[in-house]
Amino acid sequence: MRKALIAVTLALGTQWASAQSSDASTIERGKYIATAADCAGCHGENLAGGAAIASPLGPIYASNITPDTLTGIGGWSEAQLRDALRKGRAPGKGWLYPAMPYTSYTGINDADVSALYAYLQSVPAVNHEVRATDLGFPFVRPAMIAWNLLYLKEGHAAGEKPAQGESAERGRYLVEALGHCSACHTPRGVLMAELPEQHLGGAFVGGWQAPNLTNDPSGLGSWSDQELKQFLQKGHNPVAVAGGDMGLAVSRSLSHLGDSDMTDIIAYLRQVPPVITQALPAAPSRPARVDPDTVEGPITGWRNLANNATTDGAVLYQSACASCHGVDGTGTAGPDLGRLRDLRSAHPNNLVQVIAGGINLEIDGKHILMPGFRDQMNNEQIAALARYVRSTFGQVPGSGPDEQEVTSILSDKTPVSWLINYAPALAWGAIVVLVLLLGWVLARRKA
């Protein structure tokens, strides 16, 4: 009984203390920071962690960042949170892996760290022990000391560019530090650090193409401000639909940002130096002419009625897609396919991902859903369908993908350098060589 009383007193005491130290408006601001930084993207809606973040080195488990003292960050000081965000160091773990985008978060300012701290300490504590990440040798946590020396510029978000004017300055902070857009949109080098010279120039992540966000025509240079704003707030505009993780980023984070922040983000993106990537073929000036006769003809006999195996893209399109996208691809319930950039991209990743997995976006009370077809088509059929819509509605001549490319895209793997790929073998090899050398030296000494 006495113990219980003490516990209650302690609990009340802590609550009172935290209520004292952080007023409601600071917590509210911290919540906005957490939204802009999309903490929930990895740590989950309740921030209790546990999700396996797929990395090319193996799964990295998102930690519990609720104020639970045992399993979360309840025992952390503000300075410790600041270190985690800025230096990639956390109590109990030592060095974090950069799946936690601290190379971007390092640019978060003191006031925002304080607010974020107040907010994270105010959310309901969840007792949830998260599985420890084990990437195996040589990707051990202390290896990050060297990596950080090479790639972490404390206080400066990785690759951020100079910005002219107050609005673009704020935009830079939102894009580079909080939004950590470069984590997906910047290609990475041999040791998986973002390549500064190709900052925001587009990359491949988990089987998707994260497009070029720079001011080149192959990037956002050809988008109007209005198109950009609509995409970031609603998840779609006439030329693009946010699929996969970008869809989630819009629904969880970007769609909740204020109008002035949105203006600032666009102002900064306009100033990002162009990275020239493969030009996108122009959208067709007039819709494709599709003659239904090419896919219509009597189907008789049970064998033909039961045959799901066609690899004729036109038949697949007219059967599975035309009810929403129209016979000529100009769209009825779905968008006009010819205008979609992902359809005409040199890389069919996003097109293939959407055909296979669909779109499922809930933004601002609106639900946009396209069903995926991977349960009803094999990879060869998805490839045939992708080729058909690219060549017919995108009017991109003679373009892939083939079955093999679809299989590779749908394996959801992020491409990595040979060094990372063979790192375990190389590291063990080096150790073996060292041991042999040592043995040889010792043997020679004895002899």
């Binding site: 219509e296 009597p298 799901n308 038949v315 697949l316 009810s323 319930a333 859903l369 069903p371």
Partner: protein, 530 residues
Amino acid sequence: MSDYDADVIVVGSGSLGSMVALELARAGKKVIVLEAGPETTDWKVTDNFRNSARQNNFNALFPDVPYAPNSFSPGYINPHLEGIDVFPGTLRSVGGTSRHWTAATWRLLPEDMSLKSSFGLAVDWPITYAEIEPFYCDAEYEIGVNGIADYDESGQGLGYTYPPRSRPFPLPAEAKPYAIQRLQQQIATKGYRIDVAPSSRISKPYDGRPACIGNNMCNWNCPIGAKHSGYHVVEKIRKLGVDLRSNAIVHKIETGADGKVTALHYLTPNRAATRLTAKVYVLAGHGFETPKLMLMNNLGARSGMVGRNLMVHPTIDMTLLSSEPLWAGRGQNIHGAIMQRRNQPDRTRIPSTRYDLLNNPPTVGIAETALSERKIGAALDDEIHDRSARIFTFEALTEDLPDKANGISLNPGFKDSLGLPGLRLDYRISDYTNANLPRLMDDFANFLQATNGTRISAPTKWICQQHIMGTVRMGTQAEDAVVDRDLRCFDHQNLFLVTTGVMPTAGGVNPTLTGMALAIRAGKHIAKEV
């Protein structure tokens, strides 16, 4: 575990078989589902539809395989019918006949399940509405059902939710197209009211399915997957690791001395035979195939009720040509229904009746008629344009009562490609059904007057719904029923029949949602036993 091939084997992958498999798979059980028919993907059915010359036949879009004939396969059913013209179109296909259902998801009323005590008719169910109610909710949330709050489904204008529900509809009602709005205005003058028809053609994205965009081919096959079908549940159970085998035709069921099922055998189309064992067996092969399997193996014989008491919802319809364009064929196939005749006090004499307003695309029928009148060229076009805008069909679905004389039995005169028998079908329209005719004619006449229409097809002959009930009825004792309230066979302790064939009485509404609720309930029971 290693003694058995699975915890549970389910025969049939339709709406109900897949649902019981889903329940078991979620409980972590090892499940094998055997489906006699082939797998035809949804997009392929759309392809078949677009390229079919027989669009007025739902079954025609699915392969009529020689090793698993369906009810429309020539010769498979040998009909002995009196006063009624057609018989139900059943499929044998992965996903079952729900591949071409309308997705009408009515609940039964408490009175529908207690005809004996409420109206002195037929029998009471061995289970009450209150006992099924939570499972109705489970089914509605599983498949996504549209409806309105405070809804009296009995049509008696009660002003409160009836039958009672413990959870609201998961989705809001769909919008009413012009035809339904206009008809509502017109028939209101005669005292009729069009109520919302609950359906699983979803009004908002739900569970990975997009919202309906009004392709208006619900019955054939929803081309975007907005309408629920057993095929969606099949996709779910596969992800849960259920071993679904298509083209696996179960024909032989072994039992031990205690009556328990010990194994079942299936053939593939090329006659390769496989024997499988499980702790529990579920037959979920529709209201025809389930009793057929029982009869082929002399199971459940004690009751003498296997295959009997067939109920099919005798139906009669009238097509009219309105004086003004109604534009039927926009939105879903059935939007609203006139429910006032569903549960009137005179149900002791006159069957429960519902009027459906068929919002189907009418062009094929119009073209057929016009062509038969030798109209071609511009005259044909004009006829189609004019009539498509004005034509409308009212359909009366009526409750029939169980009668031992109605039912299915084996028809050894037919052999499929594996040498398995066909079915003999007996059904006679009863005096109780015919007692409805005067009032039906009265109502139809009122609809005609209210719309200022011309009758182009008179309500003169009984047809039936594709609803099969009663053939393996549930009850309280082995003497007059095949299964108990948990769908367990009285004679075979580890054999469950999950089909609308268990319904002892038919009610006046589509039975599938009730079947799903019973399937979920049975699944939970079985999960506890294995």
